[in-house]
Point group: C2
């Protein structure tokens, strides 16, 4: 690993070929509107534009900022805010400018907030098993009636099986997804509308109920999803420089807690040995078995454990060729913040 | 908690009185040059300026970006980059513009890099017990000689007792700091120079060896440091809005993994009950014993477990009054990135 990319490290690298392979594999499995790519995983309109070029014109967002930036980038033909908000006022100008805006609601308060702001369309967010947002399936019909009575168009239901998508045991994942979707079907029966929005990278080929799958992580991947045996490759790494090496058996590179989402635990060193710990600006690791510790000044690549909160720390990603020696393009991470 | 601050959430709040109390308490304990505040904990030049107004004119940085922004803000009279870098070229314009720039070195490679770039002053970084950067104490003298032979001025030694500063058991913390500093004294004897730079918030009143303490977290604090019984209060919280509440016993607020450093585990809800888990844009929690769950639309405050990687996700902090109902000032978090 003696080659050196002329970049201030830490820096996000995106393997262009791996990204394209991931995007193509998903588009083949879920063409067009069957996929509603979730932009929270990459927060990058240039990457969303590639998804659109492959035929996906509807997108999922997690924040108002993501909705705003997508609309401004001309990617607003069908934007779903798959999250509850109490103040929808910033979304109205997007709709006025021609974007199609749909918001998730799961309570009388959020229905009222959407109607009061002048939102046109909503999905009823249903709790399908993970203790987070979403009304109980048995309340969904009543909530849809309330939304319609306030003048909102109810496009259907939304229910994220987040407790199931990451299960490494595939039969168990299948079963949990099935049970979650049975709840969503029940709710949908009482809600109506054409849309059943659900799923993620871990259930894209399992969820048979959703009319659209909200996958996001598949594009760049991380070490958590890599455990599931999915047909998607690591496309994102973090380039780091070895700044210190101790003869007692460890090296330190300049990619730390401020460059990495840490909720899924330590990242991995590509082709490297065990990671000991991370500090604010450091990752400490030892050599892989039978290999030498990298020397001071060499570059290593770090594989994040969780892609979404990793990308959110960086202001740009660098597209690189197969050998990671040439920078092909630089894409701003332009949907950060709120 | 029915009051509502008109802010897009999640948003960093800084209790102005708590911040001032923390800054004053530290300045009383370590006046003037006895404290070299570490800016990595807050990444905010406005906050650094308050530290300067209290008599601290020398600062510690962890990244080249921090060095650049501090110098540009007129806070560059004595900037220490307490980290190894292989490419010092971006630091040279700061020195040319009048900033005093000192860089940590711990290897022949980093000495060579500093000399080649035209850096004037260095500290020899010594490993005092935590497996991270720093040369072995017995190598420090030789490295100082090498630095001097290349024309660098060696100001002294640097050794961070990071394995000791967070120990909750104070007698053990005392002993570990003492053992670490014995190593630094040995190294200093062979290196020379006036400076022995070490310490942090957890050892500010324990470390009797350092000529200057590099504390940073004391200004804003977090739940990890709060366990040490230090005379510093929580000054930073994250304002969040309850966006969903489930009668089965949990609430969801809009402060998640992209607003929180998670390496020290889950944050806490101020005055609230147990935190169940965090997702990208959510924190799920239940009510404190004997208290009702907050309602949808109410605001809660979240206490981060680790301040440094939390602040690095946000682009500004809002100074608020004692009751957290009035915004007194907005400070940019202007030292993010690299």
């Amino acid at each position: 690993v003696s080659r050196v990319l002329r970049l201030q490290t830490p820096a996000l690298l995106v393997d262009a070929a791996a990204l394209e392979a991931n995007l193509s594999a998903m588009s083949a499995a879920l063409p067009g509107a069957r996929l509603r790519p979730h932009v929270k995983a990459h927060k990058c309109t240039e990457l969303a534009r590639r998804q659109q070029q492959l035929g996906h014109h509807s997108f999922t967002c997690a924040t108002i900022r993501e909705m705003e930036v997508m609309a401004k980038a001309g990617l607003g033909s069908d934007l779903l805010l798959a999250n509850e908000v109490l103040d929808c006022s910033r979304l109205i100008p997007l709709a006025d400018a021609g974007a199609r805006v749909t918001v998730a609601v799961d309570s009388p308060e959020t229905v009222k907030a959407a109607a009061a702001a002048g939102i046109a369309e909503v999905l009823i967010d249903v709790n399908v098993g993970m203790p987070r947002c979403g009304c109980e399936p048995s309340d969904a019909g009543r909530l849809a009636d309330e939304a319609r009575s306030r003048g909102l168009t109810v496009r259907g239901v939304l229910g994220y099986e987040g407790h199931a998508v990451g299960l490494e045991d595939r039969p168990r994942r299948l079963q949990e997804v099935e049970e979650a979707m049975a709840k969503l079907v029940t709710a949908h029966r009482n809600v109506g509308g054409d849309t059943v929005s659900a799923g993620g990278t871990g259930s894209y080929d399992i969820n048979q109920v959703a009319t659209e799958i909200q996958a996001g992580s598949y594009a760049l991947m991380d070490t958590a999803y890599a455990k599931l045996g999915l047909p998607f490759r690591h496309a994102l790494t973090i380039l780091a420089t070895v700044i210190s090496a101790n003869p007692a058996g460890w090296a330190v590179a300049d990619c730390g807690l401020k460059a990495l989402g840490m909720d899924h635990g330590n990242p991995a060193i590509a082709g490297g040995g065990p990671v000991w710990f991370c500090s604010d600006e450091h990752i400490v690791f030892s050599a892989a078995e039978g290999r030498a510790l990298p020397a001071v000044g060499e570059q290593v690549e770090v594989l994040p454990a969780h892609i979404d909160p990793t990308v959110a720390y960086h202001d740009r990603m660098h597209l690189v060729d197969d050998d990671h020696v040439e920078i092909l393009d630089v894409w701003p991470v332009d949907m950060r913040g709120w």
